[in-house]
């Protein structure tokens, strides 16, 4: 037993000694929006290659958690994907680093090609209940939405405006399950992040505009939410340097090549 323990203990001690002797690492914690989390992880990974003295940890939790943890100091950088930041975020410096389109999606079998904002509002309010009322087949509309508090839902409802979600709406708890539900139900309509569109679902035109990267960049497609990095006060030098990296052409290219829309 002792013989087996010795090498392990030795390795452990060595590790402790090595860490202790190494250069002091600055650690930065990011937390918040699950929509931006995978992008933040990728950006952090790339940044740490060029800056071995900095260690960045990325956590999820949702936009509300991002704001809370940036305020409390649990994370140095919060991430939030909301159209309007809540009043408690006024003490935070919010830097928009990317944009994300919200696509209204239906089953590929659906013949409807586009909706106006008023029609979208009517569908999600439950006043338009059949596809034939808006130029589709005679079939009841199955509305699929997100759970209360979701950043995507909050943004969607704020941009479309005046939505009091129909009580008949199905609730799914992620972009992915919304996509599966719509892909499986010929009469369903839902909404999800533009970066997660695929061939199993069909994105509708909103007010006659296709949901494409170009339309979002040009500002003609209006269902768009910004993604913010939140910092308490001005933040340290290292934090500013990292945010500058995210905004640099290289950082923005990473964001773009992985499906989000760069701010610049």
């Amino acid at each position: 037993m002792n013989k087996m323990l010795q090498p392990t203990t030795g390795a452990l001690l060595l590790a402790i000694v090595l860490t202790g002797c190494g250069r002091q690492k600055t650690s930065i914690t990011m937390a918040g929006s699950t929509a931006f989390q995978p992008f933040a992880e990728k950006l952090a990974e790339q940044y740490m290659i060029g800056h071995p003295d900095i260690s960045i940890t990325v956590q999820g939790g949702g936009s509300a958690v991002g704001i809370q943890s940036a305020l409390s100091g649990a994370a140095q950088i919060g991430m939030a994907d909301l159209v309007q930041l809540p009043p408690e975020a006024k003490d935070l410096t919010a830097v928009p680093v990317a944009r994300d389109g919200i696509a209204v999606v239906v089953n590929p079998a659906n013949t409807v090609a586009g909706l106006t904002m008023a029609q979208i509002r009517g569908i999600f309010n439950g006043t338009i209940r059949n596809w034939k009322d808006i130029g589709g087949a005679d079939a009841p509309i199955t509305v699929v939405s997100r759970e209360a508090g979701s950043g995507t839902r909050t943004s969607f409802e704020q941009i479309v405006g005046g939505i009091a979600l129909s009580k008949d709406a199905l609730i799914q708890d992620s972009n992915g399950t919304i996509r599966e539900t719509v892909a499986n139900d010929a009469n369903a309509v839902g909404y999800l992040s533009h970066g997660l569109l695929n061939e199993k679902i069909k994105a509708l035109q909103a007010d006659g505009r296709d949901c494409t990267t170009e339309a979002i960049m040009a500002g003609t497609y209006t269902l768009v939410r910004p993604i913010y990095l939140l910092v308490k006060g001005t933040g340290s030098e290292q934090i500013t340097a990292f945010i500058d990296y995210v905004l640099s052409p290289e950082g923005q290219q990473t964001i773009k090549s992985n499906g989000l829309i760069p701010v610049k």
Binding site: G62, A64, Q68, G149, K167, D168, A169, Q172, D185, N187
Partner: protein, 285 residues
């Protein structure tokens, strides 16, 4: 060295045994201390009997979810209990014992399938089937009941088999000697004698059905409204907690803990009733 003597080991084991109980106590304490103040403030009646659940607007009524939980559970029992009890009777009374001994572990293996897999099958196979056959969104009370009905089968079958096996062989021999057929013996002697064990199996299965979360979230559709039919989408108490906890802060979070209190009370009550049923049987012998 004294530590590992007879007394030391005894103390150690006692400590381990009590740590499990204290974990339960701590969980209960935590849920109640987080949830009860909210219930006091919001009012028990408004919380339990209002149909408006709009966390953003400060409205927290869980009545539709209580009703949904009851219907889903009853539906699961309606599907799982007859199948399970019939299966248990068939395996114990009509099959040779070696066959039963081979089949029982296979059925118990069903309990080892992760609930997310049941949910996945529900979403991919059952919901589309319900949608094309009966209409509606497919993700519905009916889908949840069927999936849960299958999920509780191992509990019902396994405990029912134990209960039926515990009926003394002399009962059956007496009945058969009086000229009763096997079916008559099962119906009038064996099953009535094993009744309390069978009831306990169903109540434990109810506890499982009430508490199941993942599979239900995936197949029930999660709309917060009173179901008008079995084809409507519903949200259960467990689904409500799991869906919204990621975003909930402040009062909303407390309301979810309060939902947990209601669930805790329901599951504890069911388990106590099951325990009572089992003890009653032991007492009679």
């Amino acid at each position: 060295m004294k530590l590992f003597g007879e007394k030391g080991v005894e103390r150690l084991l006692t400590g381990i045994a009590f740590s499990a109980i204290s974990a339960l106590l701590l969980i209960a304490l935590f849920i109640f201390s987080e949830g009860l103040p909210f219930i006091m403030r919001y009012g028990l009646r408004g919380f339990l009997f209002s149909s408006e659940w709009q966390p953003q607007a400060g409205q927290f009524g869980i009545f539709p979810m209580i009703v949904a939980t009851l219907w889903v559970t009853l539906g699961a029992i309606a599907i799982g209990a007859p199948l399970g009890v019939a299966g248990a009777v068939f395996l114990t009374e009509f099959m040779p014992r070696p066959v039963m001994r081979a089949v029982k572990p296979t059925i118990e293996l069903l309990a080892g399938i992760p609930s997310v897999v049941y949910g996945f099958i529900g979403v991919m196979v059952l919901a589309p089937l319900i949608r094309s056959t009966f209409g509606g969104p497919g993700l519905s009370l009916l889908a949840a009941s069927i999936i849960l009905g299958v999920m509780i089968l191992p509990t019902v079958i396994s405990i029912s088999i134990d209960a039926i096996m515990a009926v003394p062989q002399s009962y059956r021999e007496g009945s058969l000697a009086l000229g009763a057929t096997t079916w008559q013996t099962v119906r009038m002697v064996t099953v009535p004698a094993a009744r309390s064990g069978i009831i306990a199996s169903i109540i434990l299965a109810m506890g499982r059905a009430v508490g199941e979360t993942m599979a239900v979230i995936m197949v029930a559709g999660n709309a917060v409204k009173l179901p008008g039919s079995a084809l409507d989408s519903v949200r259960t108490l467990t689904a409500n907690i799991a869906l919204e906890m990621g975003y909930a802060t402040g009062t909303h979070r407390q309301a979810l803990f309060a939902t947990g209190v209601v669930l805790f009370v329901v599951v504890m009550a069911l388990n106590s009733i099951a325990g009572l049923a089992i003890r009653q049987k032991a007492g009679r012998r």
